[in-house]
């Protein structure tokens, strides 16, 4: 049995107003595995990711990253083991793509030092891995949404961690760019000889189906009232009952044979709670 890259035990979390966001979450991820977190808006996906990233202090429960408890780690140490591809990038000064990716080298430089030649080599290599080498001198702020995601992925790769956390990596992307991001995620896990693991918050069930069809070890967890209401393989968890209970929508899952692989996909049909408008 290989040691878990990430192990979460009985995680509780509440913000200042005492509303419980996470109420006893447990799971673990092995090498080469990708975990897709589903759940309605505001259910605590990002809060949980923030706990894993060390942004939220864990008060109850435990998170182990490569065997070490996150409570004993400084933020610099967490960043040596976990990289992050955020959903939104806050607009700031117009850095070039290369300057942006170099920021991923922070954990490998001293407090009062700048990245050196070796770091530039690593950064350029990471840009190549996501097919963005040709963009290295472009201004990051002027890139399209799909290009931004790939540069952020390259920056995460430059951190050279075994675990990357994605927060809705394909939000606002068109079909092609969405597929592009997911394909690169698949490729990176395979190219790493299954040493790299990923956690992804997403709203698209078909991502999980796609990853599974590509032969990546995929786990799906569906958040429900601060817990995992369902967890398992995509085919077991992403079914019409769970979608109805957690998202309150009626869905249909189709099974297709695409070339030689089975490809599942899910489409939404209607509200399952009598057509009421959003009640949060």
């Amino acid at each position: 049995m290989v040691a878990a890259v990430l192990e979460v035990q009985d995680l509780y979390f509440a913000y200042d107003n005492n509303r419980k966001i996470l109420d006893g979450i447990s799971f673990s991820i092995g090498p080469g595995e990708i975990m897709c977190i589903f759940g309605p808006n505001g259910c605590g996906k990002t809060t949980m990711l923030d706990c894993i990233l060390g942004l939220n202090r864990v008060e109850k429960g435990q998170i182990f990253i490569e065997g070490r408890s996150i409570s004993d780690m400084k933020i610099e140490e967490v960043a040596k083991s976990v990289a992050y591809v955020p959903q939104k990038h806050e607009h700031t000064f117009g850095y070039t793509v290369l300057e942006m990716v170099l920021m991923g080298r922070t954990v490998h430089t001293n407090m009062f030092d700048s990245p050196g030649e070796d770091d530039i080599v690593v950064a350029l290599d990471c840009l190549k891995k996501v097919g963005m080498y040709g963009f290295k001198d472009r201004v990051f702020n002027n890139l399209s949404g799909g290009e931004v995601q790939l540069v952020k992925l390259a920056r995460a790769l430059a951190q050279q961690t075994n675990l990357i956390v994605f927060d809705e990596p394909t939000a606002h992307l068109d079909f092609r760019h969405e597929l592009n991001v997911i394909k690169y995620m698949t490729k990176l896990i395979k190219d790493s000889n299954n040493t790299m693991s990923m956690v992804m918050a997403t709203h698209f069930p078909n991502h999980a189906f796609y990853l599974e069809s590509q032969g990546v070890k995929t786990t799906v967890a569906m958040m429900e009232n601060g817990r995992f209401g369902a967890i398992g393989r995509p085919g077991e968890v992403l079914n019409e009952d769970n979608m109805s209970r957690i998202f309150k929508i009626r869905t249909k899952v189709f099974k297709n044979l695409e070339k030689d692989t089975v490809l599942n996909y899910m489409i939404p049909l209607d509200f399952s709670d009598g057509g009421q408008w959003n009640e949060c």
């Binding site: 400084k74 070039t96 290369l98 001198d137």
Partner: protein, 340 residues
């Protein structure tokens, strides 16, 4: 273009050469005309001796008046510009300048107080410096009241504390003796390098060198702070520590500059922008360039100040008169561009 090594070297040499040339040119500018050979012989004979064949007045004009003043202009301008540039990064806001956290208005009040209470220039330096630092500390404490979004509340703290010290400055003006003290206060608040001498320069250099060295060492991390707290943390930056170091360093440098020169606006705001237009936003290159640009700009402005009219024009007047329209031009030019 920016990663090109040759242009980087060229830029580096320009940063060294242009200020040196400007200092040399400054030695000729002023009421007292000097020829090229005179200046060169005076420079060759060294600071402490007299120059054979040249009057001791000319020697004093070069070594005791124009030279320390030019060096002071370089130091003060460089310190203000690099502090402004660093704070723009930390606060992720291109409209920030070196006085953001109240250091200028605090120092202004300290100086006014000293002018009223003591008739001694040394006390003016000390109180200006002390109140400049005090203002930053107060802004920092105010900003800590809310724990969330620390940069926003810090800016708010700076605005509040600046306003309080501005009010206190008005009060000192109100109670000041209108024939002796009020002109001194007004003149100080508009900034001037006319008192420059080596002794003052040496005193000012201590906090300025500490501050600027600190900024130079940590400058790459300013890139990281400028992309936002969350992302910086996930990339492994101890954001609070980094931010505090930079605030401390910029405050030392700015207070050191302001206590010698009085309040000089615009340099901490405009110079970093000119730098951004030349080399882009990477603080690794931008901030060293800011030192050279800020120093050169203040030296040029100071030369205009002391030679344009019979009397001296206060520095603050000209930096704003030159800086203001230029800033508007920049805003127009970078509108919709990739700059910020």
């Amino acid at each position: 273009m920016k990663s090109n090594k040759i242009s980087k070297k060229l830029l580096f040499s320009a940063c060294i050469c242009i200020p040196v040339v400007l200092v040399f040119v400054s030695l000729f500018i002023g009421r007292y005309p000097l020829s090229l050979t005179e200046v060169v012989t005076i420079l060759q004979s060294g600071i402490n001796s007299t120059t054979p064949g040249v009057s001791s007045i000319k020697h004093a004009v070069v070594w005791d008046m124009r030279m320390p003043r030019a060096l002071m202009a370089l130091t003060v301008g460089g310190a203000l510009a690099v502090s402004g540039g660093a704070l723009q990064g930390v606060f992720r806001n291109p409209l920030v300048d070196s006085g953001l956290l109240g250091v200028s208005s605090g120092a202004g009040f300290g100086a006014c107080l000293a002018i009223i209470l003591f008739d001694n220039i040394l006390f003016t330096y000390i109180l200006a410096f002390a109140f400049g630092i005090l203002a930053v500390v107060l802004s920092y404490v105010t900003g800590k009241i809310y724990k969330t979004a620390p940069t926003v509340t810090l800016v708010l703290g700076g605005v509040i504390i600046s306003a309080i010290f501005a009010a206190l400055i008005s009060f000192t003006k109100y109670v000041a003796d209108p024939y002796e003290q009020l002109p001194a206060i007004t003149f100080w608040l508009m900034g001037s390098l006319s008192r420059a001498n080596y002794h003052d320069l040496a005193i000012a250099l201590v906090p300025i060198l500490i501050g600027v060295t600190g900024i130079m060492l940590i400058r790459w991390r300013i890139n990281l702070l400028s992309i936002g707290e969350r992302e910086a943390k996930t990339l492994g930056v101890n954001t609070a520590l980094c931010r505090n170091i930079i605030i401390a360093c910029t405050s030392l440098a700015t207070a050191g500059a302001v206590c010698m020169s009085g309040i000089i606006g615009w340099i901490g705001l405009v110079i970093p922008h000119i730098g951004r237009m030349i080399v882009g936003n990477d603080n690794r290159i931008l901030l060293p360039l800011c030192i050279a640009l800020g120093g050169s700009f203040l030296l040029i402005v100071d030369n205009i100040c002391r030679s344009l009219t019979e009397g001296e024009i206060p520095l603050g007047v000209l930096t704003a008169l030159v800086g203001g329209p230029f800033y508007i031009y920049l805003l127009k030019k970078t509108k919709g561009g990739g700059g910020w």
